[in-house]
């Protein structure tokens, strides 16, 4: 639907963010953990990329590695590039990165209970960022903090400025987190499971808020979730991650219309549906993701896949491409719809 607005050739030619075969490994006691193992994605300005996968699939590591937030001592980044607006973030110095963090790329974290400083009033936390990045005077900064709180739908924002995080509900705190992230008008917002810690009604409100802010600011958004349903609401493009790799990637319509990878289908089936009669057995995916520190052979999903054959267990499937831009890594892709395609 949003496709027609992106006809501008500059936008289509140069994505705002492009990850090229990014690999992030951790040195751990039990060996080398390949948390992100060769991920390539591109994201155009103003669009939304949804990244979906189970816990431990490497989504958060991927998100944090974009801002180079991972602990330097235990992280090895082998190869790969992170191109943000044409510059490789991996080559920037710490001080150059600080000018991008928070100002051009901002992040919202999963747990609003712990992502605000418990001993500082929220108004001061927002004003601090404005003073730091934009060099605002204290008065102007607190006025702007007030505007921001109002714009993310915090009721009676003037009182809230003086309040501490523990005086706010989870949903309110997440709104404050979003206000904090939006403070410097970033070009890219990375929301790492922004609704996971919230209850369902609040989830919808937060997603609405993200969507509205994105439209108002023309912001680019990366939305990370384990819930395909959450991502489906906002994303233009969806990447499904499994065990450190992207296993399927397509525009939202193409993905939901024509799922190829059995893992995506299994994730989709595991969303509880309201239309089902009550006491319907919930569809879970049996087993657990592989240990990323171990030897990985063949398709990483094979042990849990009901279609897996011998080839799946021995040989890793390459990321195949079906026109126009639907990618998936599977030896036995599925055909959920009647649309033509070769296996």
């Amino acid at each position: 639907m949003a496709g027609s607005t992106a006809a501008d050739p500059i936008c289509t030619d140069e994505p705002l963010l492009r990850l090229e075969s990014l690999k992030v490994y951790f040195r751990a006691a039990r060996g080398l953990v390949r948390a992100v193992d060769g991920v390539s994605v591109a994201l155009e300005r103003g669009r939304t990329l949804g990244i979906v996968g189970e816990s431990g699939s490497g989504k958060s590591v991927l998100a944090r590695s974009v801002l180079r937030l991972l602990p330097e001592r235990s992280t090895i980044q082998t190869g790969g590039r992170i191109l943000f607006d044409g510059q490789d973030l991996c080559r920037l110095s710490e001080s150059e990165l600080r000018r991008i963090r928070g100002r051009r790329i901002a992040m919202v974290f999963q747990d609003p209970m712990t992502s605000l400083n418990p001993v500082i009033p929220i108004g001061r936390q927002i004003a601090q960022v404005l003073k730091y990045h934009l060099g605002m005077a204290p008065k102007a900064a607190s006025a702007r903090a007030l505007d921001l709180l109002a714009s993310v739908g915090v009721p009676s924002p003037r009182q809230r400025l003086e309040e501490f995080p523990h005086q706010l509900s989870g949903g309110m705190r997440q709104r404050v987190m979003i206000a904090l992230a939006l403070a410097c008008d970033p070009e890219l917002l990375i929301a790492d499971e922004p609704t996971t810690a919230l209850d369902v009604t609040v989830q919808a409100q937060i997603l609405d808020l993200l969507h509205r802010q994105q439209n108002e600011r023309g912001m680019t958004l990366i939305l990370i979730s384990h819930d395909l349903g959450v991502v489906a609401k906002l994303a233009d493009r969806i990447a499904v991650m499994y065990a450190g790799r992207i296993v399927e990637q397509a525009s939202a319509e193409a993905l939901f219309g024509d799922m190829r990878m059995p893992y995506t289908a299994a994730l989709f089936r595991s969303i509880p549906k309201l239309a089902n009669p009550s006491h319907t057995r919930l569809e879970a995916i049996d087993g657990r993701p592989p240990d990323l520190a171990g030897e990985l052979r063949g398709c990483r999903f094979a042990p849990r896949c009901r279609f897996a054959g011998d080839r799946c267990r021995d040989e890793e499937p390459p990321l195949g491409r079906k026109p126009p831009d639907h990618e998936y890594a599977c030896w036995h892709p599925m055909h959920l719809t009647a649309r033509g395609g070769n296996a």
Partner: protein
């Protein structure tokens, strides 16, 4: 039926009375120590202006004088007023206690916070240095420092302060590790803040409660340490009064005039006890607040 009602009313009255009694106990547990500490600090601070005889004035007629209206705490073996000496000694005790804790808090807090925040080599060097200080026999270290040149009180403060640094460093490091892993620190990092800013404005405010409670307790420990050093003759030289040296000097007269030792010892005991009680109360109150977070 009316008997039931009466019984119920009585039960309510009983629980009410119990609650009132408990709240009085709570009240006293907090305010009695504070009252004593205010009295002690006030007396020590205002000692020069209080209507007291000079602590060093000797009077042959008052040698081991019994406590009375002239000498409230009696007189010592040189005929000096024990009350005046106790109050001036408290001054030394409190200055030594607060000073030593200040050194421990500032140096130890800084070392521990940096170690906990940066980890790796910074941590192993910093905490290794702390282990060396800890492994040093404390008394030997204190004697080494106090035998150097310089004003006695300053040396005592330095000696006790150095001994306190490792403990403060460990507490600061442990709490920094806890808060450093919270998402708000990661969020501050993601907002492009410098390490120095993250430490100062994100982590440090969270270290205040645990370090405050520990400081109160350590003031008590430092006062005892100063008294012990002065008992051994390592603190301020005579005739300046110090609680430890007063007790040490009058040991021989304990059977003839127990009050000469009793009063300074009692004041020392009460001050240390009330400091511990106040620390306990403060930590309890902060814990309640933390549960709200």
């Amino acid at each position: 039926m009316s008997a039931d009602v009466l019984e119920g009313l009585e039960a309510i009255a009983r629980t009410e009375a119990r609650r009132r009694r408990r709240s009085i106990v709570d009240f006293m547990l907090l305010w009695a120590p504070i009252a004593w500490l205010v009295l002690v600090v006030g007396a020590a601070a205002l000692a020069d202006w209080l209507p007291l005889p000079s602590p060093n004035d000797q009077d042959l007629a008052d040698i081991l004088a019994t406590p009375g209206s002239v000498h409230l705490f009696g007189g010592d073996s040189l005929g000096r007023d024990v009350l005046a000496r106790t109050i001036f000694a408290l001054r030394i005790s409190l200055v030594a206690g607060v000073g030593a804790v200040a050194i421990g808090l500032v140096v130890g807090g800084l070392v521990g916070t940096l170690a906990g925040y940066f980890g790796g080599r910074v941590e192993s060097v910093a905490m290794g240095a702390m282990d060396i200080v800890l492994a040093f026999p404390p008394l030997v270290l204190a004697i080494a420092i106090t035998s150097g040149a310089g004003p006695a009180l300053l040396k005592v403060i330095l000696a006790i302060g150095v001994l306190f640094v490792p403990a403060f460093a460990r507490i600061a490091r442990a709490n920094t590790l806890v808060f450093g892993n919270k998402e708000f620190v990661l969020a501050a990092h993601a907002m492009g803040m410098r390490h120095s800013r993250i430490i100062l404005s994100e982590i440090l405010p969270n270290l205040v409660p645990p370090l405050l409670v520990y400081s109160l307790l350590m003031v008590a420990v430092a006062i005892v340490a100063e008294a012990s050093l002065s008992f051994l003759g390592l603190s301020v030289p005579p005739p300046a009064p110090s609680l430890g040296s007063m007790i040490a000097a009058e040991q021989r007269n304990v059977l003839d005039a127990p009050f000469v030792v009793f009063f300074p010892a009692a004041v020392l005991f009460l001050t240390v006890l009330t400091l511990n009680m106040a620390g306990e109360q403060v930590s309890r109150r902060l814990q309640v607040r933390e549960q709200l977070l």
